[in-house]
């Protein structure tokens, strides 16, 4: 066998490899597109419902596209759905609560992952144990406490609890991520004379930024959907949040579905915006991991 043919063979193998990778890439893309279409469909369905009249919604067979694109449903809905006000109220709760949760969960997760102290195992077990409890179990005792403090119909009961570690899940998530950060990094920092807090701020936080953003997102969504707490604490119309606002189309006797769907579509916006902001940081996370080792 000559050197020449050997090189040709090798080149051929490399070619077939890159061709195969190309095929795999295309297959993956097709799969992604198919899955994406399936995932988007129910959302499209809600959106198309928002552009239909109540009568059209129940027509059979169901229409795939609105028979008449009733964009006027939106201004109509906004008359009673005080979007900006509800959004403002929601943000008044969300911004401090999310920030509080991210900060305290990072502190907690760091302590559990990196610091050694007496009682760590016990505390960690307690922390994990608290996840096992459905939140409605503690609803009444906590409500009793807040009402004794006279804080019903304020936002405090919806904000302050999130300054307490932001929930065991989030502490746990941060802990998992801190554990994936190589220990050599903080050992090096310790040698350079860094204290524990400096390590947290200058080494751990940059390394787990993406996880912190994830915690922020999780918290955002959790609060967003936390209707039970909001129903319980807020009964004044001027303090309504978006989640509570969605309920105003559900009457004693009948529901105005097309308005509910309009309001729903409108309430999608902040979540999507928050996600798009967060997404930038995921990308930064990639850059960061590149220089980790």
């Amino acid at each position: 066998m000559s050197v020449h043919t050997a090189i040709q063979k090798r080149r051929g193998r490399m070619l077939s490899k890159s061709r195969r990778e190309k095929t795999v890439g295309i297959l993956c893309l097709i799969l992604l597109i198919a899955l994406a279409l399936m995932v988007m469909f129910p959302i499209y369905w809600i959106f198309r419902s928002s552009l239909m009249s109540n009568g059209e919604l129940y027509a059979y067979p169901p229409a795939f596209t609105p028979p008449a694109w009733r964009f006027e449903n939106y201004p109509e809905t906004l008359k009673s759905f005080e979007y900006l006000k509800f959004l403002g109220n929601t943000m008044t709760i969300l911004i401090p609560a999310v920030a509080g949760a991210v900060v305290t969960a990072t502190m907690g997760g760091y302590a559990f992952a990196r610091l050694r102290f007496r009682g760590q195992k016990f505390l960690f077990t307690l922390c994990v144990g608290s996840m096992l409890l459905p939140s409605m179990v503690t609803l009444i005792p906590i409500f009793l406490a807040w009402s004794r403090l006279g804080l019903v119909n304020t936002y405090w009961p919806l904000i302050l609890p999130h300054f307490c570690g932001g929930g065991a899940f989030n502490i746990f998530l941060i802990r998992q991520f801190v554990k994936t950060v190589p220990r050599e990094l903080d050992e090096a920092a310790t040698i350079d004379g860094c204290g524990y807090f400096r390590i947290l701020v200058f080494i751990i936080v940059p390394a787990i930024k993406s996880a912190m953003i994830v915690v922020g997102l999780l918290k955002f969504i959790e609060l967003w959907n936390d209707l039970l707490q909001q129903v319980t604490y807020i009964t004044r119309r001027d303090r309504y949040t978006l989640a509570l606002g969605l309920n105003i189309f559900r009457g004693s006797f009948n529901d105005d579905w097309s308005s509910i769907m309009c309001a729903t579509c409108l309430s999608f916006i902040p979540g999507i915006v928050f996600y798009l902001i967060g997404q930038k940081y995921f990308v930064e996370g990639i850059v960061m991991t590149g220089m980790k080792n």
Binding site: N54, G55, G100, S147, T154, V231, T235, G251, F253, D256
Partner: protein
């Protein structure tokens, strides 16, 4: 990070935690209710009127989400934070009354000209504990155009259908893609285009069929559960069979009130049973030619009357709340917004028994069903007077357990056709008997 923390803390501290202390020298009381935007506006209007006509009391609204209303109210009761007055759902009236949360209102109408009907008086062991804010009965609605298209005569207001007639008419009004009716050769129940009937199977409404079939859910004193009688079981099975066996009704396993809006409103169902509030809440928005009739009859001609009430809760401002509720629940206070729109039927006998009273609402041209006074009289006035019986929550304790919990879940298996009514009722009967005994 520290900067962020600082910003966050500032934000948090800047939040308004103001208590509402308006120094206007008036007593501020709260009125709680549920409802949508339209209801909110009409409630606010009535409250504004009250707040303007006197200067001692100022009523503030407290709006709670419809679906969590009772739960939230109970949370407030546990925390001793109840509003001063508010709407109370039928199934929790006796619960609040028996636990000493509601103020005694039994003398509210003493010596008044307008007396609420006995049928809508909540009684605990025979003692009146509250009066419904209005009256509502169950009737049958039908789409006239669909009857015309089938060449079927309209249901009569004088002589209601027997159950068998009802099923027969429903069969003639049901057809599949090929135009075949149930029972005909080649009828395909998978391809039904139009259904003949829809019987609202929302749990509490099922009681009317038990009464109609000669049975009862509970004894009149509310102390015994009679639901395992053959009559009651048969009544449930008959309603379920409309969809399962006769194929004249759409399947409705998770009970939903969509007989009117979805059913006859979008012309998928020709007849439906539902409450009289639909006259005001649904039909004005539905562009259809509809008629009303009494319910079909299994054995006895009967309907159910019911409505929630406006309760006065015990507390510092009980007296002010009592006065407000007394004013608020008069028909006149809600005349334009609730009575003339058709949402409420009046609660006082005067509006049923005297010509003058009847003409005030049924005869008013704003009333949704005044185009056909004669039918209106028979179905709304005479039917209430002669055939209405109170729903079980007027006299039976713990319906929040029996109707809402036990029966609700159990009956779903009957609606889906997985189990027979007999099987299910016999299984839950001991639980029901026990539930009504709980204090």
């Amino acid at each position: 990070m520290k900067k962020l923390l600082a910003i966050v803390l500032c934000l948090a501290l800047a939040l308004p935690a103001l208590a509402l202390a308006e120094g206007d020298g008036r007593v501020h009381i709260t009125y709680s209710f549920w409802g949508d935007q339209t209801e909110f506006e009409s409630v606010q209007k009535v409250l504004d009127e009250y707040n303007q006509m006197q200067d001692k009391v100022f009523v503030e609204p407290m709006q709670i989400a419809n679906e969590q209303y009772t739960e939230t109210l109970v949370n407030y009761a546990i925390a001793d934070q109840l509003p001063d007055c508010g709407m109370v759902n039928e199934n929790s009236v006796l619960y609040f009354a028996r636990n000493g949360v509601m103020a005694d209102v039994s003398d509210m109408y003493a010596g008044e000209e307008l007396q609420p009907m006995d049928c809508i008086t909540f009684k605990d062991d025979g003692t009146p504990v509250g009066y419904s804010s209005c009256n509502e009965i169950l009737i049958m609605y039908y789409n006239k155009d669909m009857f015309d298209a089938a060449g079927e005569p309209y249901p009569s207001a004088d002589k209601p259908y027997t159950w068998d007639e009802f099923v027969e008419v429903a069969k003639r009004l049901t057809f599949d893609e090929a135009g075949k009716h149930p029972g005909e050769e080649g009828f395909n129940p998978e391809k039904i285009v139009q259904y003949g009937a829809f019987v609202n199977n929302w749990t509490w409404q099922m009681e009317v069929w038990a009464l109609s079939n000669g049975g009862a859910w509970f004894s009149d004193d509310g102390k015994q559960c009679l639901i395992n009688s053959p009559e009651v079981i048969e009544s449930i099975q008959k309603v379920a069979d409309l969809a399962l066996v006769e194929h004249v009704a759409p399947l409705n396993v998770i009970p939903e009130d969509n007989g009117v809006g979805v059913g006859i409103g979008s012309k998928t169902v020709a007849m439906t049973t539902d409450g009289t509030w639909r006259l005001g809440t649904d039909f004005p928005n539905l562009d259809i030619n509809y008629g009303i009739a009494p319910l079909p009859v299994m054995k006895e001609e009967v309907t159910l009357c019911t409505s929630g009430l406006t309760g006065v809760f015990k507390g510092k401002h009980q007296q002010e709340a009592y006065d407000f509720v007394k004013w608020y629940t008069r028909e006149e206070s809600n005349w334009d917004s609730l009575v003339l729109t058709g949402i409420w039927l009046p609660k006082s006998e005067y509006f049923y028994k005297t010509e003058e009273g009847i003409s005030k609402w049924l005869g008013n041209e704003k009333y949704p069903y005044n185009k056909d006074m004669e039918t209106g009289r028979k179905v709304l006035v005479d039917y209430t007077m002669n055939n209405a019986k109170p729903a079980c929550w007027y006299y039976t304790p713990n319906t929040q357990i029996t109707t809402n919990e036990i029966l609700f879940t159990a009956l779903q298996s009957v609606w889906s056709g997985e189990r027979t009514a007999e099987d299910v009722i016999n299984e839950i009967y001991p639980d029901l008997c026990e539930a009504i005994q709980i204090d």
